[in-house]
Amino acid sequence: MEAVFAVWQRDVIKFFRDKARLLGSFAMPFMFLILFGSGISGAMQAMLGGDSGGGALADFDFVEFMFPGIIGMTVFNTAIFSALSVVQDKEFGYMREILVSPMSRVSIAIGKVLGGTTVAVIQGLMMLVFVPFIGVSISFIMILQLIPTMFLVAFTISAIGLLIASLLKTAQGFQMVIQILLFPMLFLSGALFPLNGLPVWMDIIVKINPLTYSVDMFKDIILDPETMSAPLRQAMGLDIEVFGHVITFLEEAVVVGAIGAVFVVLATIRFSKTEA
């Protein structure tokens, strides 16, 4: 337990110390949300309902739609890149200090995953500073719902990150693998645009992408789909169907959690084989 805490603590201390990274983490979401989102929002509205409005889709606000996706993206990015520290520790030697200590490899792996998870949750919560600028309203209850959801998502993604990091020796290699994974997972998750009318092969990718369910959970919490009309929900792609069944929030949580459980086991096994 002490070991898990020590490994975790190190990652958290370093997260808060790295001011440049902290600040830089706002750059991507800002660009997507404000520059890209606001820009495309007008065009989308024109296409969906026309300026003069009316119709069921007049309420479609693209920036609002994107916001939960951006939170998902931030959590995803932070969690997966937190595993970069594992590769860097190998490169800069600190991994030896860790591996020659009497700590069990399992505790080290768990500590690393929890470290990445914590950092990603904090980073995700920091995205709420954009709330006043985009016109969504966030209640205290929502934040209480968001934190455990973020934790679950971040845990799963951190475990995937650790598995990748355990397989690789250099930071460059790691970054390349992540870039290749990052964009398809992001584009096919519904984070940046609604996933409607996709070709079958793409739809399959969407359904096996853990990020899809993660983003949908954030949307469920923030957008409050209960109050929306059915056509609007449909346009926003909020009803994800798996084998003809509209998946519920709880089911999504179970799916993400299960994927996380599998990967944390794989990552731990793989990490335990690391040679000092």
Binding site: E2, A3, F5, A6, Q9, R10, I13, K14, R17, D18, F92, G93, Y94, R96, E97, I98, L99, V100, S101, P102, M103, E275, A276
Partner: protein
């Protein structure tokens, strides 16, 4: 004196290379034990096996009574390790690095503060405690690593080339700290080096070459084995001189960097007569006591430095 490290026919084989070919030795409690040899002699591989980093191919080793394969964690608790390359987290402060180490090694909470102060004092870094390690000089980082390696009160401190990459002055300081440490705590120190002068501080030295321990004794005894004093001469015609010395005095002459080296008993008296009698023109002459470098030369016919500087290597 009880043996804290015992090594029995330890071997390490990589695919087509036998890095360590069955070494035997034992290290006594509170001893400073040195591994001397050129790069690639198997020093680090041996240390890695003793410190549970690499698994031996065969053979046995125990540290503090614990087996290095079957009782890894007990061994890890019993040793401190200082590697050739830094293993500090440079983004953290000295204090944070030390605190994490305490956690890794389960140093009891109430003892941490006291121990951190104690080890920082040994290496003279008490006033740098709150500084980020990134701002430290190479020597300070090394000292901090030594301090960190002591936090969990190991019985044996392994130092793998602890002064590599440091300037000579800093190197001397590091050795002062190590000696001070030994005096203060009585900890057993196991080090490797390819610097001859550094091996002089050891109580005993194991000379390693090509994966084997080829000699093991106190530095003085090793030097005595070389036999007598060392005479180094440069002459106008080294070839002629070499032939003449070998036939007149029946000694083995070695040539390196234009310098002829040979050993004689009672060097001072010999030299006077030698210079008077010698027919080849002598450019320079030097008489000295043997060093560990001569020991290595005597044992292997090579100098350690040659291999470090260039892989070409002469005389082998």
């Amino acid at each position: 004196m009880a043996n804290i490290v015992e090594v029995n026919n330890l071997k390490k084989r990589y695919k087509d290379l036998e890095a360590v070919k069955g070494v035997h030795f034992a290290v006594g409690e509170s001893e400073i034990f040195g591994f001397l040899g050129p790069n690639g002699a198997g020093k680090s591989t041996t240390i890695n096996m003793l410190s549970t980093i690499n698994k031996p191919t065969s053979g046995e080793a125990t540290i503090n009574g614990f087996h290095v394969v079957s009782e890894k964690n007990k061994v890890r608790e019993s040793i401190g390790l200082i590697f050739q390359e830094s293993t500090l987290d440079e983004k953290l402060t000295a204090n944070e690095n030390l605190l994490l180490h305490c956690r890794f090694y389960k140093v009891p909470k109430e003892k941490r503060e006291e121990r951190i102060q104690e080890v920082l004092e040994i290496v003279d870094l008490s006033d740098k405690r709150k500084q980020i390690v990134e701002t430290f000089s190479g020597g300070m980082k090394r000292r901090l690593e030594i301090a960190r390696g002591l936090l969990h009160y190991p019985r044996v401190l392994f130092l793998d080339e602890p002064t590599v990459g440091l300037d000579p002055q800093t190197r001397n300081h590091i050795w002062e700290y190590i000696l001070r440490l030994k005096k203060k705590t009585g900890i057993t120190i196991f080090l490797t080096t390819h610097y001859m002068d550094e091996a002089e501080i050891c109580d005993r030295v194991a000379v390693m070459d090509h994966g084997e321990v080829i000699a093991l004794d106190t530095p003085d005894a090793l030097k005595t084995d070389v036999g007598g004093d060392i005479i180094e001469i440069r002459t106008a015609d080294n070839y002629q001189a070499k032939t003449e010395i070998e036939s007149n005095y029946h000694v083995d002459v070695k040539e390196a960097d234009d310098v002829l080296t040979f050993q004689v008993n009672r060097g001072s008296e010999f030299l006077v007569q030698f210079v008077r009698e010698f027919s080849v023109e002598i450019l320079t002459v030097n008489l000295r006591r043997p060093t560990l470098n001569d020991v290595f030369l005597h044992l292997t016919g090579r100098e350690i430095r040659e291999e470090t500087a260039s892989k070409k290597g002469r005389g082998h």
